[in-house]
Amino acid sequence: MAVDQPVPTAPAPSGDQSRIHDIGYRGYDGPRLGRAYARRSLYSQSLRGAYGLGRSAKSKVLPMLLFAVMCVPAAIMVAVAVTTKAHDLPVPYSRYAIIMQAVISLFVASQAPQSVSRDLRFKTVPLYFSRPIETADYVLAKFAALASALFILTGGPLIVLFVGSLLAKMGVAHQSEKFGQGLVTVALLSLLFAGIGLVIAAVTPRRGFGIAAVIAVMTISYGAVSTLQAIADSRDNSGSVPWIGLFSPVTLIDGVQSALLGGTSSFPGGVGPSTGEGFVYLIVVLGLIAASYGLLLRRYKKVGL
């Protein structure tokens, strides 16, 4: 543009020499589907993307593999319980996800950056906001999609366990109650993990770096907290065990499910937080979910421009 500055002495082109030709483009007068439709599309597209549906065959391998790894131990437990005619499942519903935390962390770490980092890297975020959706819609759709994907991942094996327990003729009422508590646990876990994963992934446009950062936060904090808990427990300092557990996502969920949802704890010594401490855990979990949603909103207020 700067090169084509007209030389002052040259006569400016007069108005009647330039004209706009009508070459037959037509305006769109069909139905406009609106904001809710766009939000729903973004949600379903992100949810499918988390399992690699609608993407290349290579990107289906990892999420499907992780889903299979989640379900296989449940299927084995059910098979054992049915053949030995056991009266209860070897692992309670609400504790299953805690035992498989490494797999869940890997799923979040691989799929959260997949969901948001590439939009940042290729600068497609402003294109989303040129559609009728707002910042809050984008954040809500991505958050809900990843949380739903996690809920499918963690709820799937619970359904396997529940169906298996019915087949093995364990008490229906008791099993249904425990199954419901298990579903609440994994719902909380899905929201918490999705929130933390997305906040970290939304900071960096690099996918690989996002993966490493998410896994570092999830696994390292769990490793650190477990080490400290084990040491505190072995030193007869077990009063501090529940308070140390507040510092990693996995132990937070473990505390909530063992104190309030009738599960058994994986804390050293097998003693989870008391009911009062359980409410502190619950408040921290809900606070973290709300905080991660707020942080995402703030992040996308800036990026969207």
């Binding site: 990107s59 490494a102 490793g223 040491i231």
Partner: protein, 239 residues
């Protein structure tokens, strides 16, 4: 075999901007934990060995290794800027070797050095625990870097596969299936640590001769094959 310009570029890619922060956060956490443990329990050789073995060598070293090893080449292949490097009159194995040196150096600085400091904080190097784990971390740094650098040239999802190896194979399967422990960098480096400490405070499932041989074979083979991969690299589009 070593090219200073490639090394400088790799250092900048690894430590530039926010990467250095994450790399620095993990060692910092280790040192904070060791201070907390020391205040909580006092100096104790067994606790020191537990913290260094369970947290430093089992979690921190592999994760730093994944970040440094794949980060040395992965992003360049990912965004296609590696063609500018490959079009220079440099042998491809030279590029790999230089990047390996840089990755090893970064992993050592960010994992072995904090291990030594943490060990000194925990029990003042009683029974040589701190030195033993530092040696193990140094040895593991070399093997992990070579292994994850190879992964970076083989797959676009190198970080994920590296983490799957480090967390699922070494930690999960290693604790369930004892056979998996023979094929783990962590156990090989523990064998070296066992030799240094000389007592049963640190144990390994692998004997020292086998561990040393496997470490050397894995490092050399991974570096050689990474060079071969880079010679035949095809750039794929963004999926």
């Amino acid at each position: 075999m070593y090219d200073p310009t490639v090394a400088r570029l790799t250092y900048r890619a690894l430590l530039g901007r926010r990467r250095a922060l994450v790399l620095g956060a993990l060692p910092l956490l280790l040192i904070v934990i060791s201070v907390a443990v020391r205040l909580l329990t006092g100096a104790d050789d067994q606790v020191a060995a537990d913290v260094l073995g369970g947290f430093a060598l089992a979690t921190m070293v592999p994760i730093i290794g994944v970040i440094a090893g794949t980060g040395a080449i992965g992003p360049e292949i990912d965004d296609g800027s590696v063609v500018y490097l490959l079009s220079k009159p440099l042998k491809r194995p030279t590029i790999i070797f230089t990047k390996l040196i840089v990755a090893v150096a970064v992993t050592m600085v960010f994992s072995a050095l904090p291990t030594l400091i943490a060990g000194l904080i925990l029990n003042g190097n009683g029974q040589q625990v701190a030195v033993a784990y530092t040696v193990a971390a140094l040895v593991a740094s070399i093997a992990y870097s070579a292994l994850f650098l190879l992964l970076g040239t083989v797959s676009r999802h190198a970080v994920v596969f590296g983490l799957v190896y480090a967390l699922v194979w070494e930690a999960l399967f290693g604790s369930l299936v004892s056979g998996a422990r023979t094929l783990s960098v962590q156990q090989w480096s523990l064998a070296v640590a066992h030799k240094v400490v000389g007592s049963n405070l640190i144990t390994s499932d692998v004997g020292l001769p086998a561990a040393t041989a496997l470490l050397i074979v894995v490092t050399v083979a991974a570096t050689w094959y990474a060079g071969q991969r880079l010679r035949a690299l095809t750039l794929a589009g963004e999926e």
